[in-house]
Structures are given as structure tokens and as C-alpha cells.
Symmetry: D2
Subunit: 349 residues, 4 copies
């Protein structure tokens, strides 16, 4: 009953190390079984830190019968293949977003997990944060009434380095994808995406054809409007805030203090702001893995499905197309059993 799901962790960059800490000592239903990274030294250091063995190779990890599931935090380009191999090895899979920058590879990965019948969850951690979860529950319970407006901001304090950006799939797929998932989850399906972008903080963004600031306007199937503003260079800190305005109530998840104390000096009171996603979401990263482990253990469907990942990816690509072509992209969410699949409508306007 209280068995812990044994999880092998592949990829020990920043997110990987956060997951290592969560799996090692914060998820009651999970245990960190072993770690792997292409950089052997890094793997050894993390393994020692958390007191777990290092897998000599991904193959070894996947062949290990003592491992129930793998958590994938490797570079994006390697996700799809690793998902497929892990599924075939009968391992349940938790994977960082996005599944792939290539749509077909994403579909192949989804098909692989479906065929294998394993549990598959993508790292849309915001769904597991207690504030967003409580707000979504209350919206779902009808406490907000009909939704009129959805608004969300996602902002990094400082841009990642160019090497990362090159492989990140562009602003919308790397950043806005989280907001698009939140929009669908909290409000419902989307029928139109209009995106605006700018490269303001550093000419390097324009040089690689990318942006650091975006505003994306959504129209939901219900008629409600949505607006996302995202930035890679907010300067003051990391921000993730959401507001949903409805007929009967409005919920606002605002920027929290980092540490709940106020420091007062002559004429001024100040409080700390979170500087990165790790400080902003101390519970969500733990909760998403704990939820995954429970679903694996109890044979329940995950709270974020493979098709949710696909939908957010397709919407991010629609946003990118909108930005590049300077016009609204109309999309069509279509039910396919329990899932929803988005297609781009031809040239509506």
C-alpha cells in the first residue's frame, strides 16, 4: 500500500537536479532509484549527493527490473526517442516539456506510450501548484460563473544563455507553451491565437530569429478572451501570475513574496521576490512527481495527458505562425475520444 515507485532519473541539468531532490526526499510515494547523465562526472556527483547509484547507460537504466519508471530531464532533442525506448522497456514515463520540437516525433512518442500501456506525464508543473489547483477547482465547481477574461504572465529574470536558446524551439514552444496549457486547463478550448513578439533586451535574440517578449491573445470556444504576456528579461525576478475574471467572481494568483517578511528602512518597505522558477514553485515540482508516482502505483490516469502536451505544443506553433505572419491563426480543437487534437484552419482571415 505504501510502496514507493522506484524512479530512474535521466538528465541532471537544472531541472534534473530539482527532480533528484524531490524524488530523493520529498515525494512519499516515490523513491529515486538511480541517476544518469551524459556527463559522467555530473552523474557521479549527483548520485553521491543523494546516495543513489549511477546508471552506466540509459540502456542499463531501462533494463533494470528494479526500476518502475523513468523521469526524463535530458535536452529536448532526446526526449522523444527516450520516451519510446522507455515505453518499450515497460517503464512508466515522466518527461519535461516539450516532448519534441518535431510534431511527428511527438506523435510517435504518444503512440509508443499508448501501445505500451504505460503511464505518461509531461512536466506542466503549474497544474500541480496548490494555488492554481485550488483556483481551477473553484472554477470547475462553477464558483466563478461564465469566464470573461483569462490573463497570465510568465517572466524570467534573465535570459538563458545562447547555447540553450539554440535548441529550445523558440520563445512560444519554450516559454508560452506553459501558459497555453494553463489556458486550456482553466478555461477550455481555444479557437484563435494572435501573437506579437519583440526582441528588446539583446540584439542576440533578433540575430537567431527569436524574441524575448511576447503578447498572445486567445479567443476561447466559449467566446471569452485571453491574454498572455511573457518575457525572458523581466529584470526584477521570475514571475508567474494568473487571473481569471468571471461573471460571479474573479480569482487572482499574484506574485508572492519570496520569504514572508518585510524589511523597513526610512520611508520604504521591501520584500523579496522570487528570482527563478525554483523559488516560485517550491511545492509544484514536488507535487507533479508525487502525483505521477501515485498514478503509476494506483494505475490511475495522469492529470496531464500526452494529448494535453500535444495540444499545448500545437497552440505554441500556432502562436509562432501568428507572430511570423502577422495575423490571427484560427485553430480547431477536435474531440478524439477522451482527447482533443488541434488543427490549424486554413486562412480564415
Amino acid at each position: 500500500m505504501t510502496r514507493r515507485v522506484r524512479i530512474g532519473l535521466a538528465g541532471l541539468g537544472r531541472m534534473g537536479r530539482i527532480h533528484a531532490a524531490s524524488l530523493s526526499a520529498r515525494c512519499p510515494s516515490a523513491a529515486l532509484a538511480c541517476v544518469f547523465d551524459a556527463d559522467e562526472g555530473a552523474a557521479r556527483r549527483v548520485g553521491e549527493q543523494f546516495g543513489v547509484p549511477t546508471a552506466p547507460s540509459q540502456e542499463d537504466m531501462l533494463a533494470d527490473d528494479a526500476i518502475d519508471a523513468v523521469a526524463i530531464a535530458t535536452p529536448t532533442g532526446t526526449h522523444a526517442e527516450l520516451i519510446i525506448r522507455a515505453s518499450r522497456a515497460g517503464k512508466h514515463v515522466f518527461c519535461e516539456k516539450p516532448v519534441s520540437l518535431d510534431r511527428q516525433a511527438t506523435l510517435d512518442a504518444i503512440e509508443a506510450v499508448r501501445t505500451a500501456g504505460v503511464t505518461f506525464q509531461v512536466g506542466f508543473h503549474r497544474r500541480f501548484d496548490p494555488d492554481w489547483a485550488a483556483a481551477a477547482d473553484r472554477i470547475r465547481a462553477g464558483e466563478l460563473g461564465e469566464v470573461y477574461l483569462f490573463r497570465t504572465s510568465l517572466r524570467d529574470m534573465t535570459p538563458p544563455d545562447p547555447a540553450f536558446l539554440a535548441g529550445a524551439g523558440g520563445f512560444f514552444v519554450d516559454v508560452t507553451i506553459h501558459d497555453l496549457d494553463t489556458a486550456r486547463w482553466m478555461v477550455g478550448e481555444i479557437v484563435a491565437v494572435t501573437a506579437h513578439g519583440a526582441a528588446l533586451s539583446d540584439p542576440g535574440f533578433a540575430d537567431i530569429g527569436d524574441i524575448d517578449t511576447a503578447v498572445v491573445v486567445l479567443r476561447f470556444a466559449s467566446g471569452a478572451l485571453g491574454v498572455i504576456d511573457d518575457s525572458r528579461a523581466a529584470g526584477y525576478g521570475y514571475e508567474c501570475s494568473t487571473e481569471v475574471m468571471g461573471r460571479d467572481a474573479t480569482v487572482r494568483i499574484d506574485h508572492p513574496q519570496y520569504r514572508n517578511y518585510e524589511w523597513r528602512t526610512p520611508g520604504s518597505a521591501s520584500h523579496g521576490l522570487p528570482r527563478d522558477f525554483e523559488e516560485r514553485f517550491p511545492e509544484a515540482y514536488v507535487a507533479e512527481l508525487e502525483s505521477f508516482a501515485r498514478c503509476v502505483r494506483d494505475g490511475e490516469p495522469p492529470r496531464v495527458t500526452a494529448h494535453d502536451a500535444l495540444a499545448a505544443f500545437d497552440l505554441a506553433r500556432a502562436a509562432e505562425e501568428s507572430w511570423r505572419r502577422g495575423r490571427t491563426v484560427m485553430v480547431e480543437p477536435q474531440r478524439a475520444g477522451a482527447d482533443v487534437i488541434y488543427t490549424v484552419k486554413q486562412e480564415s482571415r
Copy 2:
């Protein structure tokens, strides 16, 4: 030196009565000289309340040598003509926005005040609120650095009644015009406007071809992005909030409490929210009239010019066109002496 500018007030609807209270007892440099309203009974009641005479007609008010200036809060359709007549009578003019729903009438009014050489100010009160004014000053002083993102919300608690809406000029000219003025004032000139609208709270909006919710995306000449979300049906109260994110700092003017006390009951703490613009801007409506009176008295140029009013109007019309045609409208701000005049560019995309 401490002479009070004597002001005749025409129009005693909601805004008119706010102005009556301000001029009567809150503006050190102004004095309420007389009031006028087409509804004689209303005029008499307000006159008695504030202890000032009622003008028998607008003509009488304009002919009265003891009156230095007129404040116009009549229905929009009457603004332009009254501005022109007042100017010709040598009266300085304060007028509620918009000057007119007709562009040519707006130009005629501007020309009239120019010819007469009187002081003319339009009621963009937000420029006079101490929070916005402080933020704008710090931006202007360079404390924010280059601006990356401008974001503002303007929301009414409940829609006005249909009779008002019919003459209000549509959502963008009636509501968003304030945000467009704020955007220009705080960040600078605008080169593209993309507007989205929806009628969600009441089918009556769609019936008259209007909307109750809008999202407007701006691109500034500097390259910065801006986003405005406005609503006539926020439900929880009136909101006017602004954020400007820059390279070196970010300023956020958020929703204040209405009354600074918190009421705690089991498991919950609540505070009051402003229900309307009068509760939200207790100082700004006074400050704009006091500023106007000082400019009249001291012969200084007003802080909002006639051309500022025209620019906001033109941008609101561009937003409306964008919404109706479903595409971005490119605009061109052109210097004309000290002023800026906007023109719509043909079919950029």
C-alpha cells in the same frame, strides 16, 4: 496671487456632480461660480447643495464676465459646439473626454481654442493621480531604463445602461481611450494597434454592435509591446491598474484596497475593493481641475493638450477598426510642431 479661477460648470450628471464637489471645496485655486444643466430641477438642486447660482442658460454662463472658465460635463454630442462657443466667449475650457465622436468636429474645436488662445484641457484624470504621476516621473527620469512591456487594465463593475451606451461612441472610444492616452504618456508613441473584442455579459451589447470586453495589443515606436485589457462587466468592482516593465526596474500600480482595513473571519481575511471610478480616484478628479485652474491662473500650458485628446481618439478609432476588420492597424505618429498627429497607414498587412 491666491486668486481663485472662477469656473462655470455645465452638465450635472455623475461626472458633473463630482466636479461640482471638487470645484466647490477641494481645489484651492478654483471656485465654483455657477452651474448649468438642461434639466432645470437638477441644476437647482446641485446649485443649492453647493451654494452657487444656477445659470439660466449656457449663453448666460458664457456671457458672464465674472466667469473665467467653463468645465464641460454635458453629453458627448454637445461637447464640441460648447467648446467652440466658450472659446469664442474668451472662456478657458475644461472638457470631459472625448471631445467628439466626429473627427472633424474635434478638429474644429481644437482650432477654436487655438484661435481664441484660451487654455484647454481634456479630462484624462489618470495623468493627475499621484501614483501614475509618480510612476511617470520616475520613468521619465530614466529610473526604469528602456521600456519592454506596458500593461494596463480598466474595468467597470457593471455596464452602464443602454441609453448611455447608444451615445458613448463604442467601447474603444468610451473606455479604451483612457488607456491609449496613458500608454502614450508613460511610454511614447504607438505604431501598431491590434484589438480583440467580445460581448459576453449581455446579448444587448452584440445587438447594438458593441462589446463589453476587449484586449488591445500595442507596438510602440521604440519596439516595446503594450497590452490593454478592458471590461464593462468585471463584477468584483472597478479596476484601473498599470504596469510598466523596463530594463532596470518595473513599476506596478495595482488595485488598491477601498478603505485600509482588513476584516477577518474564520479562515478568511477580506478587504474592500473600489466599486467605481469615484472610489478609485479620490485625488485625481480634484487634481486635474486644480491643475487646470493653476494653468489658467498662471498662463501655463495644460498637462494634457488638445492634440493629446485627438491622438487618443484617433488611436481608439484605430482599435475599433482593428477589431472590426480582424487585423492589425498600422498607425503613424507625426510631429506637427509641439504636437503629434496620428494617421492610419494603408494596409500594411
Copy 3:
């Protein structure tokens, strides 16, 4: 009906000038008729600033039939005599607290206003602040239920200069008197006072036998406890906060921001704090004079009576005795018609 009560203002120090501004342009029911100060130059400057005549002497002011009332903001030592002379001249009187540092002089002043039948109000401005007033109304309406705990803080940013301190009557009579009035007003009568004091910021306080920091514990007749912490050297700004905890609800009037905007820099968000009572109470100082003028005009009893002033003074003296003798001072509030008079009980413990 809208007649303005014409008020002569005596004393043009800091509070006097605040009152001049309020009477001149912020109180609809009052008009500043003339000003007087022992320093002729100061009087002339303030008179010119507000466009009112300077009274050559207090006698002239009191003899002027065009003056309905006087507002007294002169040094404390002159209050009582001026109250008595003004009352005898048939003028209504508004006076800064305390009435006097001498109890008998206070009683004489109270007797003079009673005999003359004029309206008399003391400057406990907190009772007129919209937040405290709303909280007190809700307590009175029973929304809080039985009160368990009252807590209030009053803190100055920096100590006044020694010259002022010498004539201010000591910490409890000068500072804590406000809190003692608030305690009685919000919760009810008091039966025990225990005071603790310290001179921490400057040895000068100890040199004159005074303190800069105090904690005063109250026991109310209802059995509830109260606690006051006051300081002359809070450093970060001026603070006046109050909490009343009851069976059914708790109300907290906390420290507001000064200006409602937040300024964000890397990792930190800051907002302004009020630096003095003028920034903290933008409405209360106006409201107390407006209320006084209305009471004069309408012949209604003032919201703070002469006996309220006496009670707060007697409680402040009890606090001082408690601090000096190092023990609790038991007091007895006794009804005398509509009034309550406090006496110190002999040596309870």
C-alpha cells in the same frame, strides 16, 4: 443651508498650517476667516498663502462678529486660557489635544465651554479617519462580537526637537493620549493601566526624565485586555495601526502604503511608507474640522466631547504614574450624566 462656518485659526505651527489648508479648501462646511500667530511674519505668510486676513491679536479675532468659531493650534500651555476667552466671546472652539497639562485648568476650560453653551471639540483626529470610523461602526453594530484584545501602535519616525519636548507634557500625555482615546472609543471604559517605558534612541530623553518608547497594557471594564506600543523613534516612518480581536471577527487597520505603487528591482519589491502623520491621515484632519463645522452649523453635539478629552488625559496621567512607580494603576470610570469621569483608585496593588 449650505452656509459655511467662518473659523479663525490661532497658531500656525505644523498642525496649524495643516488646519489652514483644510479650512481654506477642503471643508465644504467651513471657511477660513482669518489667521493669527504670535510670530507676525509667519501669520502674514500663511494669510497670504491662503488669501485670508491676519488678525492683529487674539482679542481682535475673538471680538470679530464675522467669526463663528476658533480653531486653536497654539502651544499647549496657552490652550486653556484661549478656550475660556473664546467661549466667553461666544465662539465655538476646536482645540488641539491636550487641553492643558494641568488638570484644574482642563476642568476650568470644560466648565467655560459648558457655561457658554458653545460647541467644543478636541483634535482626536483618528476618530474621523474613514478606516477607524468604519471599524468602530462595525464593532458598535456587533459584527465583532465580544472584544477579547485591543492592540494599537503609534510611532513617529524621528523624535521632535528638545524645545518641543520640554513643553509637551511627557510621552504619555503627548503621544499615548491618542491611543487611550481610541481604546475607550472602540472598546469601552478602562479599569487598569500598566505602563513601561524606556529611553533608547537618545540619552537626551533620560536627561529630561522622559522616554521615547512605551508599552502600556490596559484592562477594560469588560475584562478584555489592551496593549499599546508607542515610539518616538521608529526610524522607518510614522505608524498608526490598530487591531481589535473579537469573538466573531477581527479588524486590522494596518500600515498603508504611501502611494499605491510598487517599485521592483532585482529580487526586491518596495513601496513607500508614510513619513509623518500628515501623510498617514490625508482625510482625517480634514474630516475632523468638517465634522466640527457641521456640528456648529447644525447645533449638534460634537463626536468628541470635552469629557472625552479629560478622560484621555486622566488615563495618560495614570499611565505616567504607573511607569514612574512601576506598578499597575487601577482607575475607576464613573458616569456623570452623559459623561464619564475617571478617578485613580487608591493602592489596589
Copy 4:
């Protein structure tokens, strides 16, 4: 290096179950080895929930060589003896406060852990909360300057049941002891304690000679003043807040929201308040055990010593005496090596 300290947990009431959850899955340096409770059924349920064995008896737990340390959350009356037996068995000890209601028993327990040379830590969790810890660090670093005033509140939403109260040692030893520890830790040693109490929410408190509300005034050796207000019946929720006002800065740890979202309905915005210590201190209860485990593992002295526990207990008893006798109790903190021991001074006043 990453060895986990194996801890047996005795006592599975509310705090015991919180500790079970922390040790089981949230402390990287600790492992829950087994549980014990006098109620066998309760022990079995908790053991199953966390997947650990149940110790048949305390003796068995203490005799188990696989156990490095015991965490004691049994009823207060059993603490001292269990500490002594555990120490003699060579086990390190973490114990809930207070060590005992009997001073000699407390001394005996302290002597036992000293003799055995084991690590001993008492559950003053507030020292481990990240906000208090950060504030204390900044005070210690001199950022606040000389301290003028310390203020803290500790309030329960609803009183515990009478059965608990009977064995809890009275209000000051059960509740205020936490604040007294915080006062010493953040500001320094204390020289005078004056306590006031009242039984307001329920006559049952008076019936057992206890109180539900207290105000305690402290004088520190530095001359600074301190004030504590505590309640068992705050109604709105659990509160633990602290402010330290200093010459150069003031730090305020205020009441946080419970969940960082705001719910807006017409004219009102509300947020959740923590209802109990578990919701208020999600990190502190974990951090204190993690810190204990690290100290055990690394052979370092604990951050709260046995003598800290004794000092807080002695100060709580002084508060009780002050309340019962209605006068200030002077105390004398005396250095004994690295420790401080408090004695009550005879009849100072």
C-alpha cells in the same frame, strides 16, 4: 556522507503525526525507523501509513541498535523520564516542548543528556522557519542596529479541549514559552517580565484557574522593551507574527495568506488565513528535524540547546508568577559556561 539518521518516533498525537510525515518523506538526512504509541491501534495505523514497523514498547525502541535517535511527542508528563532513558540507551533525543512541568525533572533530563553526551534538541520550531531564521540572521549581522522594540503574537483559532488543558501546564508554559524563546533568540536576555491574563472566551478557563488571553511585557538587558500578545481563541485563524524594530531598520514577519490567491466578489477581495500551526509552518517542522538529524550525523551542537529550553521554561514560570501576583517579576540571566540560567530576583518591586 549521505547516511540518514534513523529515528524512532514516540507519541503519535497531532504533533507526532506531523513529525512522522516529515521524517518519512521530507528530511533528506533522516529516516523514520519505527513508531510507538501507548495506543497500539493508533501506532499500527501510522506505521502502516508510512511503511515503518511499530515498536512493541518504548523499551524495545530504545534497545534497538538500528535506531540512532528518538523523537518524543508523547504527553508532556512523560517527556523527562523518556529523555533520561533514551540518553542512557545512547540515543540522541529530539523532544517537544516543554521538557517537563517540573523544574527539577527538567534539570535531571538536562543532566542525563549531558552525561550521556548525546545530541538533544527541543521543539522550538520557529527558530527553523525560513522567515524567522532570515530575520534573526539579519539582526545578528547588525542590519537592524540597536533593538528598540520586540513584538510578537501567538494565537490559536480555537481552544484545545479541556482534557488537554488540564495537563498542559497553564497558558504561559504551554503557549507563551514559544514567544519567550523567540525573544531571547532574536533580541537577547531578559531582566523583567510583567504578565496580564484574562479568561474571556469560555468560563471553563477560569474554572481551572487558567486564562485564554495574555499580554506579557518584557524588558531586555539591553534596555529594549518587548511585548507579547497571545490568545487561545482568535477565531479567525492561527497567527504567529513577529516584529523587531531597531535603530536602522525594522523587520516584520506578518500573517501570511494561506494559499497565494485572492478571490474577488462584488466589492470585496478575500484570501485564506492559516487555520493552525500546521498550515502556518509548512517548512519549520520539517526543518527542525532535518537540522537535528544533521547535527546528530555531523556531531555538531544543536541550534536550540537544553539550556534554551530551561530558560524559556523559567521565563514562562516568571510570567505566570507575575500574572498571579499582579506585579513585575525581575529575573536574572546568568552565564554558566556557554549557557544562560535564569533566576528570579527577590521582590524588586
